[in-house]
Every structure is written in structure tokens, then in C-alpha cells.
Symmetry: D3
Subunit: 340 residues, 6 copies
């Protein structure tokens, strides 16, 4: 069984220093492409979905390259439009041990951020689409992007598609004069499936849980309140990350819907290769799980295992197959072994 999913958002080039080099040591940058919604599209294509990505790319070789990267992963790019302008960039150095990773954003005035509402053919893009996904990063880019996102949500409703949003709070964005708390509730009221981190809920929806913020009870009450305040939401999933050091994490998640609340298994990650895009792998796993009628528990476990595996792949894009994810879910003895 497969589904057709449309995701919409900005795609950027990421320029990362080699290995653990600091910016002061860099002589070259690894170039990868990504963006929250593009990452979701790539992961879904890997699962065999008909995955469509919608964005605007610049009319230059960097834009062409971005499109080619999507295509090579099997994403449908026919609806992407092209304009004169610049590709959004971000520079990155990886953290290690107690040294935190650093990002230098250079995405202002990108061709995406300057796209005006009305410029996209939502109806054509939404044709036969079962699911529409976007993130809270897009409305953080600027008023135009926020308005375009709302256009998309409306078009999805018209097309009868399920709508999911991943809140994805980015403190370095949101500098065009609006606060997330003024913008996001409007989005969430149009959402069927909400994906969020604990702090996203606080910063973007002004909702917190009870007690120790790392406790199970906190997440239970948090999700309960989300569903009370936004009764349109069918499922709310919260990803939970414990950061021990720049390569060491413990990850899990929880999911609440009308039928109840459950936590996933936990995974300890000791040599994270790349932290970026792990939340998007979760979102893709959850969309795939819910969209293909897994049980809620299965969908949650599938999403967390996808999240876990993304930590082992460099770049923004996930590259885990359904088989690899299912083996991890089963706690296969092959985990970590060379199969030969």
C-alpha cells in the first residue's frame, strides 16, 4: 500500500566544515541539500510513497543541483517553480564532546522567502494527494511564507488530504516582527496530525505539561492539553531527546490520540554522525505509519526507529529502508553487525 504525499517548504544548501573542523580551520565545505519538508519528502520516497515536493528554486546551477538531488532520491519535482534569486544557505560546524555545533544562517532574501502569496498553483500540485505536510519553519521565514503556507493548508483541506505540521521552533528565525505564538495557533487549528518537541509547544503554542519537564507525566499532560485546546487534532506526537554530549543522545517519543497515550522504546545513540534531519525522519515515519494504516503503536515505533537510524547518516536526508527500520524495531540481533 502506498500514499501520495505533498510537502512544501524551503530547500537550502548546507555548507559544513570537514569532520570536526571549526570554521577557523575550514579550507573547504561539504555541500548537502536539505530543509525540513524536503527531508520528509526524501524519506517518504525511500519508503516507496509517491512523494511530491513543492518549493521555488533559483534559476541557476545551485538550484538545478538541488532539484537533481531530490530526483536522485525519487522525489517528484515537476511542481517546483523556478525564479531569479538566490538559494538559501547555512554554514555549519559539527559539535563533539562538550563543544556544541554551530550554525551560521545565510538564508535571508532567498528566492523562497521572497515568493509572494498567489504565486503557486496549489490546485494542480494537490491533485490526488492523500497527505499534505509542512513545518513551522516556513511561517518563521516571513509573512509571505506564512501566508503561502496557509494557502497550502486550505488547498489541502479542499482536496480532502490529511494535514500534518511539525512545529520545529527555530529561535534564530522569527525576526520579521511576528511571534510564533501569534501565528502558529492559526496553523494548528487546520492540522490533523501535530508533531512537536516539548519546547516547541511552549514557545509556539504556549502549552506546557505538569511537573518535571523530563518526566513521563509532563508529556502526558502536555499532549492532553494540546488536544483539549485544539480538538481538531487527531494525533499529537512529541519527540523526546536527551542530550548527553554532542554525539550522545537518548531518543524516544510519545503519541496521543483519542484512543490513548503511549511512549515508544528508547534508543541510546553513542556516535551520532549527523543530528540534522532526525526530526524530519520521525515525521516521515509517522506520516508513513499513519497513512498506511499501521496501528498507532506501530506507527510511533516506526517513526522513532527512523529517527534513530537517521543519526547514523550524514547530510539532511534520511536513507533508511522500511526493512532496516523494521529490523531495528524488532531489536534484531543484526543491529550493528556487518552482514556477510
Amino acid at each position: 500500500m502506498t500514499i501520495r504525499v505533498l510537502t512544501f517548504g524551503e530547500m537550502m544548501m548546507r555548507l559544513k566544515t570537514q569532520g570536526f573542523e571549526r570554521f577557523s580551520q575550514a579550507r573547504s565545505f561539504e555541500a548537502d541539500f536539505g530543509g525540513a519538508e524536503a527531508n520528509v519528502a526524501v524519506a517518504l520516497a525511500r519508503f516507496g510513497c509517491e512523494s511530491v515536493f513543492l518549493t521555488v528554486l533559483p534559476n541557476n546551477p545551485l538550484g538545478d543541483k538541488a532539484r537533481g538531488e531530490l530526483r536522485s532520491r525519487g522525489v517528484h519535482t515537476e511542481h517546483i517553480i523556478v525564479r531569479d534569486g538566490r538559494l538559501g544557505l547555512y554554514f555549519m560546524e559539527a559539535g563533539v564532546n562538550q563543544r556544541a555545533g554551530q550554525v551560521v544562517y545565510d538564508r535571508e532574501n532567498s528566492v523562497f522567502s521572497t515568493l509572494m502569496p498567489g504565486a503557486l498553483s496549489w490546485q494542480a500540485s494537490m491533485k490526488s494527494v492523500d497527505w499534505f505536510h509542512l513545518s513551522g519553519i516556513t511561517p518563521a521565514v516571513g509573512q509571505n511564507s506564512a501566508d503561502l503556507s496557509l494557502e497550502g493548508m486550505q488547498a489541502a483541506k479542499n482536496a480532502g488530504a490529511t494535514v500534518s505540521i511539525d512545529l520545529n521552533y527555530r529561535s534564530k528565525l522569527w525576526n520579521y516582527g511576528r511571534s510564533p505564538q501569534a501565528i502558529l495557533p492559526d496553523f494548528v487549528r487546520r492540522t490533523d496530525v501535530l508533531i512537536a518537541g516539548r519546547d516547541d509547544c511552549q514557545h509556539m503554542l504556549d502549552i506546557t505539561g505538569d511537573g518535571d519537564p523530563d518526566s513521563d507525566a509532563y508529556f502526558s499532560t502536555l499532549t492532553q492539553r494540546v488536544m483539549e485546546q485544539y480538538p481538531n487534532i487527531q494525533q499529537v506526537a512529541v519527540t523526546i531527546r536527551q542530550t548527553l554530549a554532542a554525539q550522545n543522545y537518548v531518543v524516544r517519543a510519545c503519541l496521543r490520540d483519542a484512543s490513548g497515550f503511549r511512549f515508544s522504546k528508547s534508543y541510546a545513540i553513542n556516535h551520532a554522525v549527523d543530528r540534522v534531519g532526525t526530526g524530519d525522519a520521525f515525521a516521515a515515519g509517522l506520516i508513513f505509519g499513519l497513512g498506511t494504516q499501521m496501528t498507532k503503536r506501530e506507527a510511533l515505533e516506526f517513526a522513532v526507529a527512523a529517527n534513530c537510524l537517521k543519526h547514523s547518516v550524514s547530510g539532511d536526508f534520511s536513507d533508511a529502508s522500511i526493512v532496516e527500520i523494521q529490523q531495528l524495531m524488532k531489536g534484531s540481533v543484526a543491529a550493528g553487525r556487518v552482514v556477510r
Copy 2:
């Protein structure tokens, strides 16, 4: 004191993606050479043995390169023969965290696998040889290779050499119509020193131990049964690996002979650089230890320390000196320190 050892088997080129890249990300492959018996030969040459490797290589630049790699490590290559054909290959991506490593074998129709019995001058190769070593991989390649291996074992007996075999079960091979359990017992009956993993014994000899398969008791009974069924065996050594994640292991081993049964120390490995070839380092360490008249305990500890150190070196080949191994055995405070 030194010994002359002959090992026989297939040598391949290994093409590994860079770092932790997945196949889908690869733009180049690191080229290393190896093979279970070649790896043993290299490790023994590093210990100062007269180490002779016997194989067939293709008559092309890749075959020449393979031979050069052996020579650079001090292995005697005069007995290697050359034929038209292709070098066996395998492609590899390293695992990390919960993501398992992957191997794509491309060794069918190799020049080695098509070598016919009778093509080698065993008597010449075996001259002055004290020890002959081979592995259970070679009979897995095909009937020709199995027959050639038996020829070698017989020649070794005639020459008065000690014979060791490392079972090395490879589930992806053994596809020429014979099962390991139909083939291997014949080999083991000609063996003086048997090296195996726990699962090798089960899959290739149909022998298991009692109780929890991770328990000490299991290994004690397992080795006992091996020696009961194959009274010709002088020593049986079993390597024991606990896989925590793709770079995290705990390794130890046990050795049984007529004088008793003992476990080695355990080593925890947290940043394995390369898992491939670690069993071969163990085999080389054991051959060296037993061949140079160390006590059984010393030989076992030497072999496990060699195994442990191989995890820190990329490629198939071990590169640990006797001094480095002995320092580790002594639990030297210098372990892990930069000496300056």
C-alpha cells in the same frame, strides 16, 4: 624463535565507502586488499614469522597490486600463481550506532573460485613449513576450492606441519549446492587446532553447548563436545563477541585442550575503526603463541589482545607488533596514551 607458516585462500579487493557514507552517497571507494588467510599471513609476518601465502591472482594490474600489498608487509609471495581471470571483490559500507554495516559480495567467477584441483604445487609450497592454516571460507566458495583445500591439508600432513582451521561461517556464500555440515566435518577431522565462533560450531559442525548461549557454561560444554567428537583436535579456541552497537563491542575468547579450559580477559571496544579481520588477528595470534611455545594461557591472551587491537586499524590487515600486544596484555598504563 620463529616459525614458517603457510596459509592458503582467496584474496579480494575490498571497496569501502568513505567514512560512514552509505552506498547511496558514495562518490569513491577506498581500496584495500584482504581475505581471511591473507590477513593471517600478514599478521604473522608482522610478528617476525616466515609467512608464506598461497593463492591464485589474476594476470592484471589489480592482481599485481594485491601481491604488492602482501610483499610490502613482508609476506612471501613466490608460490602465488597467476591466471587470466577476475579478482574477487566486495563492496562495503561501515555501520554505526544502530545501523548495521553492509557487504555486497562480487566474488563469483573469480580467478580463485575457478581454479581446478591439481593446479597447485603443494609439495614445493609446503617445504620447511611448520604450520598450515586455512579457513572455512574457502570450501564455501565452491567444490573446486573445497577440493583444493583438502589437497592442502593432506600435503601439510605429509610435510609434518601442524594444521589449523578457522571455521568462519559466511551465510552469503555456501550456494553451490553443498551444506557446510556436509563438508566441514571432513576438514575438522584433519585439523590439529580449531578456531571458531559459537555460531560457526552450530552451523558448520552441528555442535552446541548447554544453557544460555552467552554463559560461561555454554562455551565450556561446547568446546568439550567438539573435542569429544573430534579427538584429533589438540586445541579448540572459541572467540566470543558481544555486539552493543556497530562500533561497540566486548571481546574475549576461550581455549580448551587436554590440560584444561580457560577464558581470556575481556576487552571493551568503544570506537571500533574496522571490525573486519579481527578474527584473523586472533587466529594469527594463536598460531604464533602456540607455535612459539607460549603457555596455553599466554597464547590465548596474546590472541585476544591481537584481536582487540585490530579493531583500531582500518582495512583487513592487522598491524600490531608483538610489543604492542604484550603491553596491552600487561594492562600497561600507557594503553590509549600518546607516548612522547
Copy 3:
């Protein structure tokens, strides 16, 4: 507030194999520059100090390159002199797991080691200097270097500068016929701030503590004796490192002065990128803390946090900013996270 610091010593080129390659596998070497006192100078410049480095460099492109590296980090290089000769080198392979790192020194007959006493204009270099720092490596190089170091200490006294020394015992040096215990006491008697490791005190000053050498009591008694024997010393700081494996350490330090004795926090480091230069980062942190009138505790914690962060940066040079160090001292939740 800032201070002007002069450091004096040899600068070398370090040629390290790529990643975890052993010397036997190396096809190229990464070239970095460093040396205990140069490293301190670089770290202090990063903190905003007026940092002056004094040495002699060869009159060739490698010497020019060394100077350029200092300049790029903001170190003042006007007092460096240039002579015909060779640059000191050292070759290095990194350790990993149980395999220890290795250094092959090639610094004999360097242009620094052959510099004669009287060749430097100490008075000019010392102008406006608040603090003079050197290490116990320089007197290990040879009699000339030892004599030059004493010249410097005298000049610092004349200029009214605080004098610090980091003992830095190197067993592979000290081969010109004098023992450290015959030389160093003379140095320490001219020192205001002494920095040392536990074993340095034993090998260079013949001072030990009481009890288990890893115990708190040992370090307390050790530093007490140092101050008793060298009443000129205002502060003595001892760095304490527990080596679990080649990339795994726990680091802390202690500081004693007239007002008392205190241990710093401990930091566990699981993926050390580079062990070299961590002691120099500590020295720089301590000089900066004490020189800018932090409390003793603050200065100690600042120094240890600087030491901890250096483990995450390749090369000899530290690259931690004051802000990064202070965030770590505060145990910021951002530690290890990508900030975006």
C-alpha cells in the same frame, strides 16, 4: 580588561597521519604547527589578550608558514627572529581504543635548539609585558635552551612581570646529559605560578603526595609540599587526567594558594578529537583567569573548561572563545547541541 603576555619556546611542524591511519598506512600527513608555549599564546590571543610569542624560526618557507599561522590567530610575531636552519618536526599517529597514539620526534638540530644564549633581545621583547610564560620542555631541549630560558625569567623579573611555568615532562627529550631534577628546581625558584601534572612533580621536582596517587588526598599533600619547598610560588595548579581509552578521558584539576586548596569540576570526554595541546589550553585559561583578576575558583574552573574544550579541536591550537568556555562552566543546556 586585558593583559599583555609573552611566551617563549620552540615551535614545530606536526605531521599527523590521516584519521586513525597507522604510519604503515600513511600516504599523506596533515601539517599543523604548534609547541607548548605557542599554543598558550594562541589561546590567549583568542581571549583578547595582547599575546606575544618569542622564538627563532628557520629562514625558509616552513618557517614563514609557522609565523603565518600565529598571525592568523592574532598573535604578535614581531619579536621572532629568523636564522638559517631547520624547523623541528614531529610525526604522529593518533591512538584509538586500546591502541596508544605514537609520536616520532624529529626535532634534534633544529634552529631553535642551536640558538645560543645572548641571541635574543629580551629587554625589547619584555616591554609592557604583564606576564611571562614558559614550559619545562625548553630546558629539556639542550643546555642552550635551558640557559636562554633562565635569561628570560630574569628579564621578566626585571620587567616586573608575573612568571609562570608549565612543567610538561617529556621522557623522550632530556637526552643532553642533564636530568630534569638537576635543572628544574632553579627554574621553579623563579616562578610565581606553577602548573604541573602529578608525574611532572615527581620526575622533575622529586615531590610526591601521600596515599593512593589518584586520591584527592594525594593532590592536596602534593601541592602543599610544592609550596613548602618553593615558598616563592603564589599558586600551584595540578591537572588530573584519567585515561580510559585513547579517546576517553576524565579531566579535572586542583589549585592551591595561600588562601586554600580546591578541586575543579570533572569533565568526561568520550570522543576526544585531539589530545595534544589540552594542557596548554589549561595553562592559558589559568593565566587569563589569574591575570584578569578572576577569583581563584573561577580561574581554575575557566582553565579546566578550556582544557576540556580543546579535546574537541584538531591540531595543537585551542580555538575556544571566552563565551564558549563560560557556557560550559555554567553547564549550559546547550552543551553539545546545535544552536539554530
Copy 4:
């Protein structure tokens, strides 16, 4: 105006040593994908054609990677089938100066070479196709491949598509017992547009020209005879290469049809980056030119300029846009300049 083109053939992974390294020096191989007909497909997609490639790929990560490379270049891959087996490989070292490049083929027993006639759905693949292109390499692979090629030609005729073939003589293939001269005439009799090198005509069709084989007259008489013997041929194009050294060439071509015979301009190439795939760039240029109704002269010049530009791009694939080719044809002053 655009056309839909189907090409059919084997796709391989090419493993090339770095830069000008010889096999004996190689520590890694650059991995590119290509094959004569895949290269044509990629070049045509770059020109904006609907470009469809038909082949069989192995059911493993290397096959997936090959498909992704095509997709990233905009080639339609929906008709490609997947089977268990191995991907054909070739190893390569680049020549330079008087040292010739070397290829070690490792393509025997590939998944393509073992595909049986009847395994492909020609009718579906040929839907709406205007042009079908194949090369003389495919019938060199084996009888199965030759038979499959003929199936394709017949299907193309049935679908009313123009058929082109590029003879592409490969002396190292053709070892399955048939000679090219026994096979190719049958192909050429089904061909509308024939592309060949001078020596291809001799070795594969047994046709030569008159006089000095480098003379204009030779090519005129050669093409005349081709058209006499194969009156079905509408156009015959011959590429002409003068090799001065491994990076230095002069290239041109000629085209004959019923309306006459003409030579293209010559291009001198002094720093060829990659010689492989230049003939395929010519074929793609000619197909595009003739298919989009350029004049014969324009089509010829377009093809030669595409051929010329391919020498400046590494890998099998061409990456020249229509604009770049047209600028070169016009002898733009910008040729070779940085535009800024």
C-alpha cells in the same frame, strides 16, 4: 520543440584511480556510472528531451545508485527492470603525455549480459517514442544481448520511431564466438542514422575509404560506400579524432546524406579532462539536431561542439547545455573565459 528518445544498453560502474595515479598507486577509486547508451540518454535529458533509458540493473545498492544517478540528470527510469545479479564494472587509470590510459573490464556475467530475449516489454517502453538509439557495444556483450537489441530495433520500427546506432567497436569485447562483421550488417540494415568512427566501419562493416586514411577523400568515399551498401541509411556521420597525446586531441566529424557531404569545424583540445563519453555526446548532439529539424550542417556542428565540450567534464556523462554548445559553435569570444 522536443522529442522523446529511448536508448537501450548496459550501464556500468566505472572505478577510476585518482588523478593520474596508476593502478599500482591507487588507494581509492572514484565511482562514476555510465555506458554508451546511458550517456546518450543523459545528454539528451540535459537538452530538454524526454529521455528514457531501458536496461536491467541488479537488485542491490549499486543498482539503486546507478538508477539514482540517471534520475538526478532527469532521465526517465520507469522502464528499467531489476534482477538479482551483479553490476558490470570497469576499472580505469587515466593516461597522460605518452602514457596511454588503461581499462580493466570486469563486466562478464553481469546482470545485463545474462538477460534473456523476451524479458523486456518493448511495446510499453516504446510508447510515444520518436527515436530509438542503441550501440554496437550491446551485441558485443553476448548473443542474448544481440538478440535483445534486434528485438528493440523491430519494436522501434513497429512504433514508427527513427532508429540510430553508434557502432562503437570494442576490441576487448566480442569474445563470445561471433565476429562483429557477422552480426552488425543485420543491425545496420535496420538503421536510419548511422554513427561510426573510421575504424568501426572497417572492423564491423568491412568498409574502407580510398587513399590516406586521414585524408578528407577517405572519409568522403567511406561514407559514400556505406550509403551504397546500406541504402536504408538516411544519414551517416563519422567522428574523426587525431590523438597527439593522452590529453591532446583534434576532433571533427563529417556527415553524408542524400543532399550531400560536409565536414564540421575542427577543435583542438589541450587539457582533456575525460575522454570517455565524448562519442556519446556526439551521438546525442546529432540525434537532438536531426530530431529537432536543424539543418544537416547545424546538426553536425552541434554534435561536434557537444563532443568537444565533453572532453572538459569528468565521468561518463556530458553536462553541456544547449546554450553552452551554441556559444562554442559561434566561436564566442567568451570561450574559455570566466564570465563575471
Copy 5:
């Protein structure tokens, strides 16, 4: 003899694909820093001048890195100011053979382009300065930058410094609504030494020569007219480049002043490593020659030899010493030889 030179302009990071890779093939970018006036400053520092560079850099790690690169080359950076904003970038792929290099500018909205007139302390920066140099790129960036440049020229006049300008026409800039011909004459009227290419004079000053634009006569009449129209100009130098292919050039130049007109020697360059920054090397050579009282002919030859040698160094910065340039001027037999 030395001089103090101030140059003023924008510094950018250049991100170039590896080797001859096209953008479509890039997986990483080499990061270099440069800009016309920064390049002149670096070359002058290499000649031993007191070289001061004035610009504004962003308050982020990329800005810090840019400054460090200047410092490592011995340029004085104390007058550089720092602001929040982004560093200007440009992406580049190198051309080869008939394929032209390509630049994708991404410098709009840079921290430099948004700097307002009045923001710089010209008087302080101009202290003790003998020579002030700028280029025609800066007024192309925007009205602010044009106004800042004029401020600088006025300050230089006040300080008694010689003023030089390198016209440097960039067709891809000049898009803020003013034409170069409306802006530049005002600059040239304040200039003592004018450096230009043939086409710069046409596009920016509307001055051409007589006859074939490649002829000697053209350059003679061109420079004559420049001096007639701008009698304030003391010397006008024109660089002359013949482009044979992307790596093949012939370069020379001419210089006119009141005492006459002369052409330099020609240099044929067959393997240009980097074309960028060669004009800046010429400018630096000319400034150094004229500033240190070489004869006009010597200064011209020095400048052209510096230009020639820059073609052999990657990156924006020249790295030729006075000795290397003089050896080339003398046509030393050592040119091109390894000295050993």
C-alpha cells in the same frame, strides 16, 4: 625601501568546486577569501610593504576567518570594522579547454554593500599612508559603496597619498540603477595612477583606441586619449590578455606617462592554475614598482611578471616574492625547473 599602502573594498568568500568539477558534480567547495583590493593588499605585504586593508566584515565566524587569512599574509587589519550582517559570497567552477569558467555571485545584501557613508574613520586609517588604492568594483556594488569610495579618495588627497584605481569592469554587477559611465569619470578625475583593461576603458570611460583592437596602435592611441581626457593622471597602465583556451593565455601590458609609452614582454601561459586575481597581482606590482621608484619600464615589467606568476597559484591571493618576480623578469634559466 618600503611604502605604506591602504586599500579599500569588499572581501568575499569564494566557494569553488574541486578541480574541474561542474556545479552539477560538486559535493564540496574549496573556500578561499579574496576581493580585488584585498588581493592587492596581500601581494603588497608579500613585497614587504606596510599594507593596510580597510573593509567591513560580518560579526560571525566567516568574518573572523576572512580577517585571519589577511593577518596570516601579514596585512594590517586593525582598521577593519565589524557589523552584523552577511559576508558576500561567490560560487565558481573552473573552465578548461573550450568550456568557460562560471561564477554565480551571491553578494547582494552583504554587510559591505549596506555600509553607509560616514561609517568609516578615514582620517585614522589614512595616517602615514603613502598610497591609496581602490577598484571600480566597489562603486558597482551600490550607491553607498560608491559614495564611500569617493570619501576615501578625498581623504587620500587630504593625506597627500598617491591614488590609484583599477577599473575592473564587472558586467554582472552595476544593477543598482547607475551606469559605470555616469559614475567612473568622477573617480578617474581624482586618480593619479589608472589601471585598466582595454574593454574597461570602453565600458566605463567610453574611450577606445584606433584600429584593430588587438594591435599595438590601438593601445597606444587608447592610452593617449585617456591621458588627454584626464590630465590629472600621471600614469595609465593597460593589461592585455589573449585567451586561447580556459588554461591558455598570453599576457602583457603597456604603460604611458608623460615620458612616453612602452609595452612589456609577453608571457605565454599553458596551464593556468587560477585566473582570478591576476589583474590584482599586476596592480600590486605596479604600485610597488612606482611607489619604490623603479623606472617606469622596470615597474611595468615587474607588474606583468607578477601577473604572470599569479596564474600558477590557486585562490585569489598572489604569493610571489620579489625574488621570484625578478628571476622571471631576467628570464632566468631556472624558470620552471626544480631547484635542488
Copy 6:
């Protein structure tokens, strides 16, 4: 037919910047091993000779690596002795266009240069040797090395081996107080086959030819005088190199013996990959040709073709096979082509 050849001299590690990087840009160095006589040994082993190399290497991992490199090329290393000390080094940047390559020697006080006469077992090393080869570099290293070389020549005479010397003048050596003209004649009087460049003869033997030093007549008279002054010489070969730019050369050679004088063919080299070791390839080619009874002309042409091909291989070592050399001698049309 094959011969056993012994060569004797110093082996060094060469540390070369990447590509065309200058020292000022270097972040890493490529490590190769070589030395005039080692290079000859490697080339002879490639020709199938029994090639024995004699030297002293340091007792450290760099010495081990040097030995391994020889072994991998099939050179016999059993006679090499090992001592405490340092390996000689040289740093190198490649030239390009008009920029000359640069070498920074760092070979003083090497383990080789400090070896005392009498330390080698000449008689054992010379066993069964047909040919002994050394170069004029060794006596330039120091008096010890000169004395050792003479020991070797004497031992060769005693063993009945042919003795050849390649003069190899190095202006940067010869700084231990003796001039080459005081030393070399004694060597040449013990030589059977003399190999030299034009300038070597002048600087080391004080012999020049008549007329224009690039003329054929010059070389004819030069070689005539050499044979007149040293009647012991059987053959004298002079290599002739015209340097057009750092990558562009024309090479040829001439050979005189009792039977006459002849020039070889000329080869134009346009993209030299590595200039180092080309003279050694010539020497090896000549030794092989003369030693295996080729005609004088054949031997000369073989040597020059080997010299020519070495320009296309990086590192000190030649890697040309007999077949490749003979193809070039025949002017095969395949020269420069990819064979496939």
C-alpha cells in the same frame, strides 16, 4: 634473460604539497619515498631484474615504511641495515608554468649520512651481483658517504660486477668542505658506464664540449673528451633536457662507446606529472638495456623512453613495464589512447 643489480644510496621521505599548492597554502603533504639509487632499483625490479637495494634506515616506523615501499615493488631489502637515527626528508612544491618548483632539503644528520665506513658487509651484499650502480649524490652527502661509496665500488670490482654511476649534480648539497671536482674523478676512474647531464660534466668533472651548449656538436665533443680522460669508461650516456615551462619539456639523450656516437629520438612532454626520478628511470633503462645485451641503440632508446614515461607518474618511482616502453619506442598509435 635477467640480471642481478645492486644499488646503494640514501632513501628519503619526500613530503610534497597537494597539487600545485605553495608551501604557504599547504595543509597536508603527500608522502612518497625515494632517492636516486632506490628509484633505479625499483625500476629494475619492474623490468623483472633481481634488484637489490642497500642502505641504512632508521629504527622507527618511517624507516619501516620506506622498506615496505621497496618490497611492494619487488626490490630485495634483506641487506638493508637498521640504526637509531632519523630518516632524511625533503619538502617539495611542484612548479607550474613560469613558477619553478622548490625543494627544501632536510636531510642533514640523517641515519645514512652518519653511517661510518666499514659498517656494511659489502661482500655479502655483492654476492652473485652482475651490476653495481651508485650516484654522485652519495659522495655529496659527506665524507663518510663518499668513503662508503668507494668501498662499494671496490667490492664490485672484486666481485666482477659492472659499475655504473649517475653523476647527478646537486648544488644544494656538497657543503661538507670538499668540492665535487676533488672527489668525483676518483669515482669515475672506477666506472664502466657513466651517466651524466651536460652540466654535471662541467661541475663535477670540469669537462665541457665545443660550441653552442645545446648543439649536437657540443654533446659529441663532450662525450669524446670524457672517454679520452677516462679510458676505463665503456659507455658514456648524456641526458638532454630542454625546459620550456615547469610541465613542458623535450627530452632526448646520446650514448658514446668505442663503436660510435648516437642520439636518441626526442620526446615532447606537455603535462609532466612529476619531474623527479626521470633521470633515474633513464639510468635503470640503460642498465637494463646494456645488461641484457640489447644493441647500444636499442639500449639508448629504451632508456630515453623510460625517462619519457616517468614524467607521467607521480612520486620518485617509475612504474613503466617493458611492454609500455617498447610500445612507446615503436611509436605505437596507441600512445595516449585509452585501450578498451
